[in-house]
C-alpha cells in the first residue's frame, strides 16, 4: 500500500494578523483549503493530527469538534520544526493499519510579538531555568555559536550563507504566499544589522501568523496528481545534547530513509530542508547525503544551490516566506507536495523526487528532533 498527499492548503502568512485572530481559525483555514484542493469535504475525513504552540487551552479534539470532524484516529504533536515528519510517520502507519482512510495533517500558530516572546521564554524547563535568565530571548544566540563552529569546521564564510539566503529570496519572488519577495543583494545581506554575531537579520526567520495542511489517502488510483510518500524516518535526542550540534538526527535517518525509498540522495530534484538558519540548511543537506561528504560545502552552495541546479526551498523557505510557529515544520512538506503535484505556480519546476526534512526543539544548545521524508510525483 502506498500513501499519498492529494491536497495541500495554507492560511496566508502574515507579519501582522488582524486583531482578534485565533490560532484555531488560522489552522481551520489551511485545512479547508487542503480539503478543497483534494476535492473532499470535512465529512470525508476520519483522521486528524495537529501541531501548534498557541492552541491552548484547546487541544486536537477541540479543533476536530469545532471543524465538525468525526474521527477514528487523532493525534497532537508537540515537536515544532520536526512535527510534520512526526505526524506523517504516524499517519502513514495509521492508514496502512486501517485505523483511518483520509487523514488531514495541520500545523499553525498565531505568532505576534507577545506570543513569540511568551513562546521563547517558556519553551521548556531548561530554557526557563538556564537560558531565559541570561538573558537570552529565543534561539538566535545558540545558532550564532553553532554557525561559528560550522564556519570553522567546514571553512564557510558569511558570503556562503548569504548565497543560500539570496537564492531562497529569488525563489520567494515567485511565491505570492511569501512575506519577503523583493530581491536581496549580497551587500544588503552582509550589511544588515547584527542579531547575534555572526548572524545578521537575513540569517533569521521572520515570525508570522499562518498555517499549513496536507490531506493523505491510500492509492487514489484515479489519475489525481499526488505526492507519494516513499519513506519517513525520525530521530529524537540522537546525541543527548552532548555534541556540537553540527550533525543532526538526520544523519541516522538517511541510510534507512533512502533505502526504503529505493532512491539515493543524488536522485532528488528538490530538497526542502528546515531552514531556521542557513547553517542548518548546510547541516541537513550534508546529513541527508544530498551535499556529498567528498564535496566542498562552499563550492556546493555556489555550484548547485545558487545556480538552481539543485532547487532548495523553492517557496523561499522560512527565511523568506516566514516561520508560522509550528507550521514551520510543515512548510517544506507543503512546498514539496505542491512541486510534485504541479501546483507550484510561477516557481514550478520539473521534478519527480523530493526530500523533505524537519528539525527542531532546542533542548539546551541545539535541536533534538529530526525527520526525513522522501516523496515521489505520481498520478
Amino acid at each position: 500500500m502506498t500513501i499519498s498527499i492529494i491536497g495541500t492548503g495554507q492560511s496566508p502568512y502574515t507579519r501582522h494578523p488582524q486583531p482578534g485572530t485565533e490560532t484555531s481559525q488560522v489552522i481551520a483555514r489551511a485545512v479547508r483549503n487542503a480539503l478543497r484542493e483534494a476535492g473532499l469535504t470535512p465529512g470525508d475525513v476520519d483522521g486528524f493530527a495537529v501541531s501548534s504552540f498557541t492552541l491552548n487551552p484547546d487541544h486536537a479534539i477541540d479543533l476536530a469538534w469545532r471543524m465538525g470532524l468525526r474521527l477514528t484516529w487523532l493525534m497532537q504533536d508537540t515537536n515544532g520544526g520536526a512535527s510534520a515528519g512526526g505526524m506523517l510517520q504516524h499517519a502513514v502507519r495509521a492508514i496502512e493499519a486501517g485505523d483511518a482512510k483520509v487523514i488531514v495533517l495541520a500545523a499553525g500558530d498565531l505568532m505576534d510579538g507577545p506570543a513569540f516572546s511568551q513562546l521563547v521564554a517558556s519553551y521548556n524547563r531548561a530554557t526557563q531555568d538556564h537560558l531565559a535568565p541570561l538573558p537570552m530571548n529565543g534561539p538566535n544566540a545558540l545558532f550564532a555559536m553553532l554557525t561559528t563552529r560550522q564556519m570553522e569546521v567546514l571553512g564557510l564564510t558569511r558570503e556562503d550563507y548569504g548565497r543560500i539566503a539570496i537564492a531562497q529570496r529569488e525563489w520567494a519572488a515567485d511565491n505570492p504566499g511569501a512575506v519577503y519577495r523583493q530581491g536581496l543583494t549580497m551587500d544588503e545581506y552582509l550589511s544588515a544589522p547584527a542579531v547575534a554575531t555572526p548572524l545578521g537579520r537575513y540569517d533569521c526567520v521572520p515570525p508570522v501568523t499562518g498555517a499549513d495542511a496536507v490531506v493523505l489517502v491510500a492509492d487514489p488510483g484515479n489519475g489525481t496528481p499526488r505526492a507519494k510518500v516513499l519513506s519517513v524516518r525520525a530521530s529524537y535526542n540522537a546525541d543527548q545534547q552532548a555534541g556540537d550540534g553540527l550533525e543532526t538526527g538526520l544523519r541516522a535517518c538517511a541510510q534507512p530513509g533512502w533505502e526504503e525509498a529505493g532512491i539515493g540522495p543524488g536522485d532528488v530534484g528538490l530538497a526542502c530542508v528546515y531552514d531556521d538558519y542557513p547553517a542548518m540548511v548546510v547541516a541537513q543537506l550534508a546529513d541527508l547525503g544530498v551535499l556529498p561528504a567528498d564535496d566542498h560545502p562552499a563550492d556546493f552552495i555556489k555550484r548547485r544551490i545558487a545556480t538552481r541546479e539543485l532547487p532548495v526551498n523553492t517557496s523561499g523557505g522560512q527565511l523568506s516566506a516566514g516561520q508560522a510557529g509550528a507550521a514551520g515544520g510543515m512548510h517544506g512538506l507543503v512546498e514539496a507536495a505542491r512541486q510534485l503535484m504541479g501546483t507550484a505556480g510561477a516557481r514550478q519546476i520539473a521534478v519527480r523526487h523530493a526530500v523533505v526534512s524537519g528539525y527542531g526543539m532546542v533542548l539546551y544548545r541545539y535541536g533534538a528532533c529530526a525527520t526525513m521524508s522522501v516523496l515521489e510525483a505520481a498520478r
Binding site: 541570561l134 544566540a141 544589522p193 543527548q240
Partner: protein, 105 residues
C-alpha cells in the same frame, strides 16, 4: 566562585541541565558538584552588547553563559558563577533556579 552541575554517582558523568536518568550509564542517583571554571569555545555578541558564550568544562560538558567584565576570547579560562551580579571582574554567569541555589548553601 563556582557553578553547580549534576554528577552521576555511578559513572561520575557531569551533566547540565539536570537529568532524570544518566544518559551514559542509565542510573538515577546524582549529586551536585561545584565547577570552578570553564574554557570559552565560542562567543556571540547580541545587538544590545550582551556577550554570551559556550564554555567547555572538564569532563566534556558544555554550558551556555553570559560573560561579564572584559569579554574573554575563545580559548581563555573564566571563573563560573551562579550569581547574576557576581562583580565586575571577568566571569561567566550560569543561571540556575533560586531553589537549587538554596539546596547548595
Amino acid at each position: 566562585m563556582s557553578a553547580v552541575v549534576q554528577e552521576c554517582r555511578n559513572c561520575r558523568s557531569l551533566l547540565f541541565p539536570a537529568r532524570l536518568f544518566c544518559p551514559v550509564c542509565g542510573e538515577d542517583s546524582f549529586s551536585t558538584v561545584a565547577a570552578e571554571d570553564g574554557t570559552v569555545e565560542q562567543t556571540t555578541t547580541l545587538s544590545d552588547g550582551t556577550v554570551l558564550a559556550t564554555l567547555g568544562i572538564n569532563g566534556g560538558l558544555r554550558l551556555i553563559a553570559r560573560l561579564t567584565g572584559s569579554a574573554p576570547e575563545p580559548g581563555q579560562r573564566v571563573p563560573l558563577t551562579n550569581d547574576p551580579v557576581a562583580g565586575s571582574g571577568a566571569n561567566a554567569y550560569i543561571p540556575i533556579p533560586p531553589n537549587l541555589n538554596e539546596d547548595q548553601s
